[in-house]
């Protein structure tokens, strides 16, 4: 059975975001790939062909586009696909050691899935969370940040019990409730938005 056969509203929603033209149809390629991958964990050749037909192109093009990106997979990954940022800022915070630890303790190499089907690992590039390095992403879910040895152990323990901890998103920002920024010393300096003059809005505005 085709994947999208029973999901016509979803397909229609995706197409509705782009112009109603051959070029616009082609734009649905990445969202459709994402749909399949999120549901099945990878994109098989038959799914590529299915997506090609939906987008009015060929399987060659789908594979070409798909292979350009690093988060689409042509082979199944583990239930928990651990993606470890290995770029400089995370490396400076010990990402290499985190990686080695994962590979060793899970006994899985990139491209493999652990025997219990639970884990696969991939090195990825800067996840845009350098302030909370080292960082790891699980599957297409959120980030796990400041993954030190202790936190890593906790996460692995939970995953082994199939209890995926919620992704955490600490916000490394220091603006207080009053809208003022706080220096490293703890001192709030500068003004807050309430100290700024808003320009008069439109007549009907609720300023």
């Amino acid at each position: 059975m085709t994947y999208f056969e029973t999901k016509q509203p979803l397909v229609a929603d995706i197409f509705s975001r782009y112009p109603d033209s051959p070029q616009g149809r082609r734009s649905a390629l990445m969202p459709l790939l994402r749909e399949v991958q999120d549901a099945e964990g990878f994109v098989s050749e038959s799914r590529m062909a299915e997506i090609a037909a939906l987008c009015g192109t060929t399987a060659t093009e789908v594979r070409s586009v798909m292979s350009f990106y690093s988060t689409y997979h042509t082979l199944p990954t583990g239930k928990y696909h651990l993606q470890v940022c290995s770029t400089l800022m995370c490396a400076l915070a010990g990402a290499d050691e985190l990686w080695d630890h994962l590979v060793e303790s899970l006994d899985v190499q990139p491209g493999e899935v652990s025997p219990d089907g639970r884990f696969s690992v991939q090195k990825v590039e800067c996840l845009g969370s350098c302030g909370t390095a080292p960082v790891m992403q699980i599957g297409d879910d959120g980030y796990y940040e400041n993954v030190g040895p202790g936190k890593c152990a906790q996460i692995l323990e939970s995953l082994r019990n199939d209890l995926q901890p919620l992704p955490d998103n600490p916000v490394p920002v220091t603006v207080g409730d009053d809208g003022r920024q706080v220096l490293a010393t703890g001192q709030a300096v500068g003004s807050s938005v309430t100290g700024l003059h808003r320009l008069p809005g439109h007549a009907g505005g609720d300023a």
Partner: protein
């Protein structure tokens, strides 16, 4: 527009690219990704030049440099070298190539080093060796040595993309020509890069490239990454004898180069002809030549006492014919020839018919109708703003015509021509060009072209012309509106309309063309049907057409396979032992059109020259020489003494001077044409020609080992020419 290249000022048309500016000035720039008929993309970065332009002050005057009269506009140079294939030359621009710029010379040497980084140095075993753009340019522009020092990228070296095209992924330099070709020319997304960065490679996910126009990528690949699998390991480029000639497998008449080695036709490549095929040929034209080297007849055959066909000399064959025809009137011998015979051959046969007085003369295939509507050229097709194709399966009838139609749909931009040839980079060509399917209407049976057409009308092709005169459906009204609204409309007619067209055909067509201002291409039934129609090669009153050959008292049948013999003595002249030949009393060996000198006329009325390639075919002869033998057997005067004689006949009868036909051919309209009832004809280019049996590379190497093939070290002496006809 004035541009200064390496210190020399030249005048150029606006819109010229910097790379063409340099070539126009007689200079040189190495390039790999640019290609005359593809969009410039700036990927290989080999074509770097330094450039600068004058600037204007706010008042419009130039910013000057120097004092008083010596003042000249100051040139503001770009701080870094620029890719000349993607840069437009502008008024007053200065360009420096490697000839005058050290920076450019070093940049190009450095780029060459990068390009060669992962390129295997297997030139000695590469089919492209000797004709490789990379090899040549590395020699001219490289450092001479690489400082890389690491292991090269390893990838699949024998990766078949189809039965006909093989890919060596290691050799690919990622110029993207092949990808752009498929996307831009035949409009197919069947080949593309996979992965990215240093891991990028070429592949298809279609389970093989579609046959049609796939072979062209083997011509345009600047390295030996994409190779003609039919010609794989057949020879080195310098061993081949290259013959520029014309493909006569269909009436497009593409310019080709035939490569032969040791008397065998090994390979056919496209040759540029701006007016006809630009730089492309179809897969039938490229790979469908195998018949010319396999199971050829090399001597005449005559019947022995047991009635078996046995090899004989020409003299013995002439004797056999004399015996066979003895007691017959020469006029009893019907004369038939294939419609891909040359004009010269046709003229010789026409003259022989006059001498023998036979009324049974014919050529086939041909259509009965003659078209008087204004003729469209292939360039007209490519630049048309509306095209209506009726009753044609172009894949079988005239494949490259399909490419010229698709060219019109993507804007009809034909790259300009300079003294150095077609523009290397026409900046008007863009990747993934916008297409205008609404400019194309197809009427008739479904064919490959349908995928590209905005208007598709399933209809009986024969009736379609009449119905277009009085459109009775919305679909047909839309087609008429398309023609009416266009400035340069073209109508193309194929076999389904032309074969057995009814009496009102000409009137309807003339009416439609004059009403809409359309020009017309009626695709002839065979490569030279159009030219041969200018000669009286149709049955005279009471004469028998080919399809009634079996009623003829005797017959001479050249390169036609009706599958029957005449009632009496039958002579067949052919390249192979066809079904008809097996029935004959005497079989005379014929040369293929690859081995001929002569002239054909293509579907737009262009006269195109044939030149003989160095193919050994024993004692095979063209029709002119064969007719001399026949004349001798019949006891009449030889109709023409060789090619010159036949051309003299054409000059006398038709006022046609073929003595110095330009290589790209010349349009010619014959004042008079001969038509007559014709047999129904369905062109089948593919099934007939594509009986290639491509071996896998493993088989091929085994075959080579078996035949003690050795890697040739030095250019071999060219084989003696054979089979010529002068």
């Amino acid at each position: 527009m004035k541009v200064t290249v390496d210190g020399t000022e030249i005048d150029l048309p606006a819109g010229t690219s910097a790379i063409d500016a340099v070539f126009s000035a007689g200079g040189d720039v190495p390039y790999f990704c640019a290609h005359k008929y593809l969009s410039p993309v700036g990927a290989c970065r080999m074509c770097l030049v330094e450039s600068g332009s004058p600037r204007r002050n706010p008042d419009g005057s130039f910013v000057m440099e120097g004092e008083g009269d010596a003042a000249t506009p100051k040139v503001f140079w770009f701080p870094k070298p620029m890719a000349s294939c993607t840069m437009q030359a502008t008024e007053g621009m200065h360009i420096r190539s490697a000839k005058t710029s050290q920076v450019v010379a070093k940049a190009q040497a450095g780029m060459m080093e990068f390009t060669l980084l992962n390129h295997p140095l297997d030139c000695p075993t590469c089919d492209k060796g000797g004709a490789c753009e990379l090899q040549d340019r590395a020699f001219e522009y490289g450092y001479g040595a690489s400082r890389f020092g690491f292991d090269r990228r390893h990838a699949d070296k024998h990766y078949p993309l189809s039965d006909f095209v093989i890919l060596d992924q290691e050799r690919c330099i990622h110029c993207k020509r092949c990808v752009r070709y498929f996307e831009e020319v035949p409009g197919q997304e069947v080949l593309d890069f996979i992965e990215r960065g240093g891991h990028t490679f070429i592949d298809t996910q279609e389970g093989g490239l579609p046959t049609g126009f796939s072979g062209n990528i083997t011509d345009i690949c600047p390295v030996g990454a994409l190779l003609d699998n039919v010609a794989r390991f057949r020879g080195r480029n310098w061993e081949y004898d290259h013959t520029p000639t014309t493909c006569t497998l269909c009436p497009v008449g593409c310019s080709i180069t035939v490569d032969a080695r040791n008397g065998r036709l090994e390979r056919i490549v496209a040759r540029e002809n701006r007016d006809v095929n630009e730089a492309w040929i179809c897969d039938a034209g490229r790979f469908g030549h195998v018949f010319a080297s396999e199971e050829r007849l090399t001597t005449p055959l005559i019947r022995d006492e047991d009635g078996q066909l046995v090899a004989a000399t020409w003299d013995a064959a002439i004797d056999a014919m004399k015996r066979g025809f003895s007691g017959m009137r020469t006029a009893d011998v019907a004369l038939y020839l294939g419609a891909d015979s040359t004009l010269e051959e046709g003229a010789a046969l026409e003259a022989l018919a006059a001498a023998t007085g036979t009324r049974s003369v014919d050529h086939a295939p041909r259509y009965e109708v003659s078209v008087t509507a204004p003729q469209a050229t292939l360039t007209d097709v490519a630049t048309a703003d509306a095209i209506v194709v009726i009753g044609a399966d172009l894949g079988e009838e005239a494949p490259v015509l399909e490419l010229r139609i698709l060219e019109a749909l993507r804007g009809g931009l034909i790259p300009p021509e300079f003294a150095h040839g077609t523009a290397i980079a026409d900046l008007r060509l863009v990747e993934r060009p916008a297409r205008r399917p609404e400019r194309l209407a197809v009427i008739g049976r479904e064919s490959r072209l349908w995928a590209h057409a905005g208007h598709r009308v399933s209809a009986d092709s024969q009736g379609a012309l009449a119905r277009l005169t009085h459109p009775d459906t919305d679909e047909l009204r839309a087609v008429v509106a398309l023609l009416d609204g266009a400035e340069r409309p073209v109508i193309i007619l194929g076999a389904d309309v032309l074969s057995g067209a009814g009496g009102s055909f000409s009137a309807n067509l003339t009416d439609l063309a004059s009403r809409t201002g359309a020009r017309v291409i009626a695709i002839p039934a065979a490569a030279n049907s159009r030219g041969l129609a200018a000669l009286n090669l149709v049955p005279r009153a009471g004469g028998l057409p080919v399809w009634r050959a079996q009623e003829a008292p005797a017959a001479f049948i050249s390169r036609l396979d009706p599958g029957v013999r005449a009632a009496g003595f039958t002579v067949v002249h052919d390249t192979h032992l066809t079904a008809t030949a097996r029935l004959a009393d005497v079989v005379l060996p014929a040369v293929t059109n690859y081995e001929k000198r002569g002239t054909v006329q293509n579907l737009e009325g262009r006269l195109l020259p044939l030149h003989p390639a160095a193919i050994q075919s024993g004692e095979s002869a063209d029709l002119i020489r064969t007719l001399s033998a026949l004349a001798e057997a019949l006891g009449v005067k030889a109709p023409a003494r060789g090619l010159r004689g036949a051309q003299a006949l054409l000059a006398d009868h038709l006022g046609l001077d073929l003595s110095d036909l330009p290589a790209r051919g010349a349009l010619h309209t014959f004042r008079r044409t001969f038509a007559g009832p014709a047999a129904p004809h369905t062109p089948t280019l593919w099934t007939e020609r594509m009986h290639a049996r491509p071996l896998s590379w493993v088989d091929r190497i085994e075959e080579l080992v078996h035949s003690d093939w050795q890697l040739p070290g030095a250019p071999a002496a060219p084989p003696a020419r054979a089979g010529g006809s002068d």
